[in-house]
Symmetry: C2
Subunit: 423 residues, 2 copies
């Protein structure tokens, strides 16, 4: 009869969000359920054959190097490719500003490790990416948050929230997870000016930036921030670029454009920040798999491959988004609201106030359809009448059927709530 560990020894780290949500999400693994809960890419668009050929070439030509330890910073040709590619979007980063990470999740963990002391406050959008809250919980972060609307972060409410003295601001400007909303240029400008004025750095998380299905690409915060710096320094000495000297740490990933099973992402930051990230990563996992980095590099350097592949994803996900929006229009009851994402993987539904999406979840599951209850994405635990839908993973047929099922559940539920008033 031994006492369990957690009673003998103090253990840290709890799961994120309510354990009820976690238990409910386990039920969605049943293959009969059409799940809009996960954030999974469509596996049918993975470039499997390109990876197979690349794995073969890497192991034939550089097998020993691919299987050996490598540097924490990452495989140099991969960092060079990223630097070159990002320059197309105006991000003028050198190789020394780029660190390869084991997925974006590790980028967030690294940022937490170098910036957060216990009790430090982080400013986020409300709702915000669950994985960031999960990563930073380990560093005992506190939160202050600013609500989003259909145009993203409500920047006019930013200065009030800054009174909490946050260590940094965490923002997903493009097709936000979970909101699906995009920050317009004017708001980006205001955000950057406020960050500059108050001396608060910004962590710009951009996992979906390339997956735009309508409208024009908007400049990343890190680019606009450099321009602000440049315009200022041209008045004084006109010397050098503002890049990698401003307020923004940028992160992106190959999980949505190549494949998440690789676990490949990157951080772009001023060299002094990046060096700390490198030291922190040394303590975390030494380096990201040499073989995976070399295989991805082999694929990326194929003339024209990447752009063509991203175009395919845009087409497939763009169609699914349209289908889901049309189905929502058709099937959801009046009084429900949803965002109309210009890109990315998610859209966000807000129900009339009295409805609670955690309480609704068992009923949805009984009707063989699933979502993520929105409260999981709120650092303050609010948002009980919201949920997130993913439109990248389910097939067109599943999207039609799933939204229909969900609409039926919502109609029934609203009727139930309306009944007492009518009585």
């Amino acid at each position: 009869m031994t006492t369990p560990w957690n009673q003998r020894y103090a253990l840290r780290i709890q799961g994120m969000g309510s354990s009820i949500i976690r238990e409910l999400l386990k039920l969605t693994e049943n293959p009969e359920i059409i799940s809009f809960a996960g954030g999974l890419p469509a596996p049918e668009v993975f470039p499997v054959e390109a990876f197979r050929a690349a794995a073969d070439r890497v192991l034939r030509q550089h097998g020993r190097q691919a299987l050996q330890y490598s540097t924490t910073e990452g495989y140099t040709p991969l960092r060079e490719w990223i630097a070159d590619y990002m320059s197309k979007y105006g991000i003028e980063a050198g190789v020394d500003n780029i660190l390869i990470t084991s997925g974006s999740q590790q980028a967030l963990d690294l940022i937490g490790r170098i910036l957060i002391n216990p009790g430090d406050c982080i400013l986020t959008e409300r709702p915000t990416y669950l994985g960031a809250l999960q990563a930073w919980k380990a560093y005992q972060a506190a939160y202050t948050s600013v609500p989003i609307d259909d145009d993203g972060l409500q920047v006019d409410k930013l200065e009030e929230a800054l009174c909490a003295g946050p260590k940094f601001m965490y923002v997903l400007p493009n097709f936000q997870n979970p909101g699906g909303v995009t920050l317009p240029v004017a708001r980006r400008k205001t955000l950057l000016e406020i960050a500059d004025r108050y001396g608060v750095p910004i962590v710009e998380d951009d996992p979906y930036g390339e997956l735009r299905y309508e409208g024009e690409h908007l400049p990343p915060l890190v680019v606009m921030d450099a321009k602000i710096l440049n315009s200022r320094s041209s008045q004084s000495n006109g010397n050098g670029s503002g890049f990698m000297r401003g307020n923004v740490i940028y992160t992106s990933t190959f999980s949505k454009t190549l494949a998440p099973g690789l676990r490949l992402a990157w951080i772009v930051a001023p060299t002094e920040v990046l060096q700390r990230c490198v030291m922190a990563k040394q303590g975390m996992d030494l380096h990201t798999s040499s073989f995976v980095q070399m295989m991805a590099t082999e694929v990326l350097y194929q003339e024209g491959f990447y752009m063509e592949h991203v175009r395919t994803i845009r087409r497939v996900y763009g169609e699914r988004r349209q289908l889901m929006l049309a189905a929502l229009e058709r099937c959801f009851p009046p009084g429900t609201h949803w965002t109309r994402p210009q890109g990315g993987l998610f859209l966000w539904v807000t129900l009339p106030k009295p409805l609670n999406t955690i309480e609704l979840m068992p009923k949805a599951i009984a009707n063989k359809v699933a979502y993520v209850p929105g409260t999981a994405f709120f650092p303050d635990g609010s948002g009980h009448n919201t949920f997130r839908l993913n439109f990248s993973n389910a097939t067109p047929e599943q999207i039609e059927a799933g939204i229909e099922r969900l609409g039926k559940v919502l109609y029934e539920e609203l009727e139930k709530h309306a009944a007492p008033v009518l009585a």
Copy 2:
């Protein structure tokens, strides 16, 4: 003229050890230098062809699964293989006791994350593995340490060190890094009894356990601990196995037996500990690369492959260890002492007290040979007259030439120190 980040914003995380050592180690990258500094396996023994065939099969047969997100716990067939394999060494762990990690370094980081609160004290061997100190620095751990001798941890000094009230004890019982020493069964027993009596858990790090070149395999701490529990409970109710209910968290890796470039290792722990590790890993990197896990699994399930491959490694490294020991005998001056490892990758040299191996390093590098100054491995910064030598990576010719060069440097240095006395 922008102020650098580290002057504007407080950044955490410093490098481990003195920056002098880091700068010196950078110099050893010169290919003319014979480096015994790294802990690299010999790339010529990597099973490149087996991996090439496995990558091909996995991507042909399960490409979409291999490139998709997967569970944090790890690929079930891989965990099953590990459970089955460890049972050969007496470790009766179920799949639910096993978590796949991105290298042993992540296992250490995870352990730190679930166990260490800022200021908590950890008990280590002195010297100990640098990477553990590096991982736990992020959690603001303090240290107390017990010296090792040629038989490992001096267990008779353990109770005194326990007065510091450590959160756990960190021990590498087999072919310790950096000492190369192995803890005999009697000392293992004493260690476990003390851990049990004082209620202090043990983290057993066993990266080299299978790489034994002489003597008999010794039971892991986790096995002996279960036996102690069993003998006790058989007196009360004779019920169940003591496995995964005792004081030991065990960790091992494929980095030394398959290839480090994969970043594949595992933790074995009681389920309630493992569940916390899973939650912590979710915040760190979501999961280890699905593709890499499936590729390694494909290789491991090949009839007879793994045992045969481990035998090859034992033969190659065993020969190199013999060569290095013989060269040390021949080339090193009297008054120097070194350990005689029965396995693993490293041996440990102690010079006469007045010598300082950091000061000696530039001279060694000028003579085109390198080691790691021992002080890097001491949580208290002592050990100035010690250094670590790796014998797995250099070729037999390099081992002979390198030890000869190093011996010459040591003779010259000792003469210099002796001179004033003779004058």
